[in-house]
């Protein structure tokens, strides 16, 4: 089959739509995650999404709902337990290890097909069906709507917390709300690129964008573009040779990152 024949297929089209939606959400959240130094928290949350998904598999509920529940619980736990920034690293480490252990236990108890197990770790976007797609689109719209509402105070709290507090911005509540948004987005990404590779969509595009501009608006636009290129481009590249989607999504994402680092280094030298 040529690539054009492949693009005719329903499941390929569903996968592309799912990737495009995720790229948008991940791209918009990314600059906040990088500014708030939450890369490790995202990783921890994705492990718990994996555990939630594994629990759902065992209980016979939709994996998507399990992953969603797992990451939201993780996000709230992280928000509540790490009141001080200095605590955060170790709290995430502790929760992450436990969550991953539980996930593996539940997978080992599951008697179903092994491809399902593998998919939770490395992504199974071609397995996304129309129900999953509906959940993904609805959740993404909800995430973007909440983010639009809290955008300015969240930005204030992220870059300048001391002054934000002085102006009455509810910095602590915002950080929990944002953690939940990240939790939802992470759970959605787990479906596409898998728990282990979520960072490729949530962190790398934003980190790349922030290397080449100091304007927050431009950084967000570029981050969305990069995430879209990585997510959609990764799938397109994986179709013909039949390679794993997650491998190509991360590869595209990483190449963009390297190029941006190079551009950033040149820019700094010239100023």
């Amino acid at each position: 089959m040529t690539i054009f024949d492949l693009l005719e297929l329903d499941f390929v089209q569903t996968a592309l739509i799912a990737a495009a939606v995720l790229g948008l959400v991940a791209g918009v959240l990314g600059p906040f995650i990088v500014t708030r130094k939450m890369a490790f928290a995202v990783h921890g949350t994705s492990e718990l999404a994996f555990s939630g998904g594994a629990a759902a598999l065992l209980l016979g509920i939709g994996v998507g709902y399990g992953a969603l529940a797992g990451s939201i619980i993780a996000a709230v736990l992280l928000g509540v337990l790490s009141r001080r920034e200095s605590d955060r690293d170790s709290v995430i480490g502790a929760i992450l290890a436990f969550g991953l252990g539980m996930g593996i236990l539940m997978l080992s108890l599951y008697k179903g097909r092994t491809t399902n197990k593998f998919g939770l770790l490395t992504g199974q976007i071609v397995g996304v069906d129309s129900t999953d797609l509906k959940l993904l689109v609805v959740s993404s719209v909800a995430v973007l709507a909440v983010l639009a509402f809290i955008y300015r105070p969240l930005f204030f709290a992220s870059v300048d917390p001391d002054v934000a507090i002085s102006r009455g911005v509810p910095v602590r509540s915002l950080s929990i709300v944002f953690a939940v948004l990240v939790g939802v987005a992470t759970a959605l990404s787990v479906q596409v690129v898998g728990a282990l590779l979520v960072l490729a969509l949530m962190i790398t595009p934003a980190a790349a964008a922030m290397r080449i501009t100091a304007s927050p608006l431009r950084a967000t636009v570029l981050s969305v573009v990069f995430a879209e290129v990585a997510a959609v481009g990764g799938i397109l590249l994986s179709l013909q040779p039949g390679l794993p989607v997650s491998a190509l999504v991360t590869a595209v994402s990483f190449v963009i990152y390297l190029v941006c680092r190079g551009i950033g280094a040149v820019q700094r030298r010239s100023t």
């Binding site: 600059p31 990088v34 500014t35 639009a148 509402f149 809290i150 955008y151 300015r152 105070p153 930005f155 204030f156 870059v159 300048d160 001391d162 002054v163 934000a164 507090i165 002085s166 102006r167 009455g168 911005v169 922030m210 290397r211 501009t213 100091a214 304007s215 927050p216 950084a219 100023t271």
Partner: protein
Amino acid sequence: MTAISLRGARLSYGDRVLWDGLDLDVEPGEFLAVLGPNGSGKTSLMRVLLGLQPLSSGTVTVAGGNQAVGYIPQQRALDQSMTLRGRDLVGLGLDGYRWGLGLRNRRERKIRVDAAIASVGATRYADEPIGLLSGGEQQRLRVAQALVGDPTVMLCDEPLLSLDLGNQRVVSELIDKRRREANTAVLFVTHELNPVLPLVDRVLYLVGGRFRVGTPEEVMNSRTLSELYRTPVEVVRVRDQILVVGAGACEEQTHHLTAEAAS
């Protein structure tokens, strides 16, 4: 109308009383310096005025509340790779606390932000990444950030710390200009009085649960400070500087002030 008013204010953590029976009125356009050694409750007073710390007893009123306050924090090294320009920092001071994306009135917003940046002479570097600017440049933008919201009260928490003498003068003069032009009350927490001495109307001096309010002449003299510190303290005026020479209790102060007089 009084800008800041404290009545019978008491703040204590368990048995430790930071201050008690504090009555203080700061009038519009007044420059009040808050002095005292570490742990005397200067920062806690600031937190009370910002509404972040409830009083143990007594009342506090700040005219206009949080939204009418311009807050200038200590200069702190910002992450060099931070995706933020001076322009963005100042803009947050204008409407960063409001919900939503803020897509309306972009033009009017830009005019106000530009004006605030120009008023502190920061136009040249307002579009540079803020992490790459010098401490003095960052603090000028901090002043613009506090001014752009048109505050009735400015709360300054050691804004000159870690700045060189030239930048200390520039930043304190910018704050002084604002209160003269717009009649903004200034509450200025510092452990070095000398850089702002010519601007100060009154001093609030806090030491170990005791305090004294008055003009610099009334407070910064050997008798008053000896009473406050409960140990002999010598206050000497050298040219335009005040030197506090004390025994133990105010070592830190002495060190700072003499170091400055020598420079």
